[in-house]
Amino acid sequence: MAEKVLMKGNEAIAESAIRAGCRFFFGYPITPQTELAAYMAKRMPKEGGTYLQAESEVAAINMVYGASAAGARVMTSSSSPGVSLKSEGVSYIAGADLPCLIINIERGGPGLGSIQPSQSDYWQATRALGHGDFQMVVYAPSTVQEMADLAYSAFDIADKYRTPVMILGDGMLGQMMEPVELPERRTELPEKPWATTGHGNARPKNVANSLYLVAEELERTNFERFERYAQIKATEQMCEQVDCDDADIIVVAFGASSRIARTAVRYAREEGIKVGLFRPITLWPFPADALSATCDHAKAFLSVEMNMGQMVDDVRLVVNGRAPVDFYGRTGGVIPTPAEVLDKIRQINEGLGE
C-alpha cells in the first residue's frame, strides 16, 4: 500500500490526473481552485507535459478541445464564474465527441458571487453546461481521497464514452487537507484511432467537428450520442448509502454538504431517529435506481445542499410522489451546520409520527 500523505483536494486532483496520464493542462487563475493550477505549473514541466496559462477561460477550454482531438489526456480547472465562460467550448467538445476532464471548484453565485464554498452550479453541470442536446458525466467527491480516485478514473470514463467529464467540487473540498493514498502511475493509455494526429499517409483523414448542416445528419449523431448516454446511465451510476436499509427518513446530500449531513445523521441516530444518508457520487447520471429502491421503506426525503435547492429536483423526479421530499440549504457561500440539519431531521421525524 502506498504511503498516505496530507494533501489539499486541489493538489490531490492534480497529482492524480498526472498519474492517470494527463500531460496537458490549460487554465486561467481563479479562487478557490488556485492550488490546482499552481501544482500543475510546478509538476507538468518536470513530467515533460504542458502547463499553459491561457489568455482566458474561453481560450483554455478551446485549447483542451485541440489537445483532446489530437489524442492527449487533457484537463482544465476553474471555479464557477470561469466555468460559465467555458460553456462554449464544452458544448463543442461534447458535439465533437471528445474526451476531457473539467474541474469546477465551486464558489457562491450568481455573478462574481463570493469565493466561499458553494454547490450552486448543480443545475449548470447536470442540465448540460452549454447549448445543445448533450450531457456530461459529473462526479461529486466528498473527501480528498475521493477527489484523487475520481480524477484518476474520470479519464478512463471520458475515453471510454468519448465525452467530457466534470468533477464538481467546492472551495471547502479544494482547500482542505486530508490523508490521501495516491493511485499508481498509468503506463498504458487507450488507443485513439479517431484522433487528428496527421494521417501520415497511412489512413483516411480524421476530422473533429460538431457542424452538420443537414438536419437529419445532426439528428442521427445526437441519437447516437444519446445511445451512449443510455449506456452510461445503465452502468455508471454511483452512490454511497449510510444506514439507509431501515431508514424512515433518507437525507440526500452530495460533496461537502454530505459531510455535514453525515454528522447530522449520526447525531439523529443517537437520538433514536431512523434516518440514513444517501450520497450521490455521480450527479449525472443521477443514481436514480438505488434511490428509487429506498422508496420501498422510506417515508420521507430531505435534500441538503449548499444552494437554493437544485438537486432536490432530481430527488423529486426519482421519488415521483411516493413520499414527501423536503429541502434544507444555505447559499452564497454559507455552510450549513450539523445542528441545523439535525433540527430539520427532527422536524420531519415529528411529522412522521402524526
Binding site: 489568455e55 485549447m63 463543442y92 496527421g198 494521417h199 501520415g200 483523414k205
Partner: protein
C-alpha cells in the same frame, strides 16, 4: 503514326479533396484554399498537417482537404491550434480565419497565440465584411463602407476604426513572419503563394508564429461582379491595408523569433538572465532529432517528402 505526348500542365493538388466547395463564384477563398493545398503538396507534408477551420464562409474547409482537420468555435482557431501543436510539436498545424473570426470575436486568441510565439501558421482572409451571415460590418470594414449593419456607411465616430492586423501584431515578440498579400492577378497570386509557402516553411523549420493576411473580396455581399470587386479592393482597401512584409525575423538576420525577441530585450536584466532551472527542463524535452528517430522506428509513420499515395 507518332503518338502525341501527353503533357500535364494543371491538376488538382493531392491535399485538396475532389469535392465541390460552398464558395460563391468569384470568391477569393477558392484561390487561397488552392494555394494552401499546393504548398502542402510541395512541402510533402500532407500526412503531417493538421488544419483548423474557422466559423465563417470557410467553415467547411475540413471537407475540402485531405489532411486531418478540426473545426473550431468562432474565433477560437488559434487556441485550438495551440492545443493540437502542444500535443504534436513535430506536426504542421495551420488555422485559416476570416476577419470577423480573427480580428473581432477571436482577437484575444489571435494576439495571445502570436505573443506566445506558437509555432503555427495562420492564413487570414480580410475582405472587410462578414460573408457567411450576409454582409455585416467587420472589424476591418473601411470608414464609410456600407454594410448591412452600417447602412449609412461605417461611422467612425460611433463604430470606431478598422483594425490593421499585420501592423498590430508586428509589435509582438513572439511573431516570426507577417506579410500582407492579395490574389487579384496571376502575379499577385504567385506572390501570395510564396508568402504562404514561407509561413508553412517557417513552421517546419521551427522559426516561429507566421501569419499571411490576404486582402480579399466578397462580390456577393459587396454587391459587385468579381472584377468590379477587385477594382474596388485595389482602389479602397490597398491604400488602407498596404501590401508588404510587416515582420520577417529571418530577413532581419535572426535565426528565429526567440533570437529576435532576445535582441529587443537586450537591455532588460531579468529577461536576459541565466535560468538554469528552465535550461534543465528544456534539456529534458525530446529534441526534434529524437522525435524523428522514434517515428522512423514505427512502420507506417514515415511521411514521404513528395505527394504520397493512400
Amino acid at each position: 503514326m507518332a503518338q502525341a505526348e501527353e503533357k500535364l500542365v494543371y491538376e488538382r493538388p493531392h491535399s485538396l479533396a475532389p469535392v465541390v466547395t460552398n464558395y460563391c463564384p468569384g470568391c477569393t477563398h477558392g484561390i487561397v484554399n488552392r494555394l494552401v493545398a499546393e504548398v502542402i503538396d510541395e512541402l510533402g507534408i500532407e500526412g503531417d498537417t493538421i488544419g483548423v477551420s474557422p466559423v465563417g464562409c470557410s467553415v467547411m474547409m475540413y471537407n475540402f482537404y485531405n489532411c486531418d482537420f478540426l473545426e473550431a468555435a468562432h474565433g477560437r482557431a488559434p487556441a485550438v491550434a495551440t492545443g493540437v501543436k502542444r500535443v504534436h510539436p513535430d506536426k504542421v498545424v495551420f488555422a485559416y480565419q476570416g476577419d470577423g473570426d480573427l480580428a473581432s470575436i477571436g482577437m484575444a486568441e489571435t494576439v495571445h497565440a502570436a505573443t506566445r510565439g506558437e509555432k503555427i501558421t495562420i492564413i487570414f482572409i480580410n475582405n472587410a465584411i462578414y460573408g457567411m451571415t450576409g454582409g455585416q460590418m467587420a472589424p476591418t470594414s473601411l470608414p464609410n463602407q456600407v454594410t448591412q449593419t452600417s447602412p449609412y456607411g461605417r461611422d467612425v465616430t460611433t463604430a470606431g476604426y478598422p483594425v490593421r492586423v499585420c501592423e498590430l501584431l508586428s509589435s509582438l515578440d513572439g511573431v516570426a513572419y507577417l506579410e500582407r498579400v492579395c490574389v487579384d492577378s496571376p502575379k499577385n497570386i504567385r506572390k501570395a503563394k510564396k508568402a504562404i509557402k514561407k509561413a508553412f516553411q517557417n513552421q517546419v523549420d521551427g522559426i516561429g508564429y507566421s501569419l499571411v493576411e490576404v486582402v480579399s473580396t466578397c462580390p456577393t455581399n459587396w454587391g459587385m461582379t468579381p472584377t468590379d470587386a477587385f477594382e474596388w479592393m485595389r482602389e479602397n482597401m490597398l491604400p488602407y491595408y498596404p501590401l508588404g512584409v510587416y515582420r520577417d525575423v529571418v530577413a532581419e538576420g535572426y535565426a528565429n523569433a526567440a533570437e529576435a525577441a532576445a535582441a529587443r530585450a537586450a537591455a532588460c536584466p531579468i529577461a536576459m538572465a541565466e535560468n538554469p532551472q528552465l535550461d534543465e527542463i528544456h534539456a529534458a524535452l525530446p529534441s526534434k532529432a529524437k522525435v524523428e528517430a522514434a517515428q522512423a522506428a514505427v512502420p507506417g509513420l514515415n511521411t514521404p517528402k513528395e505527394g504520397g499515395d493512400r
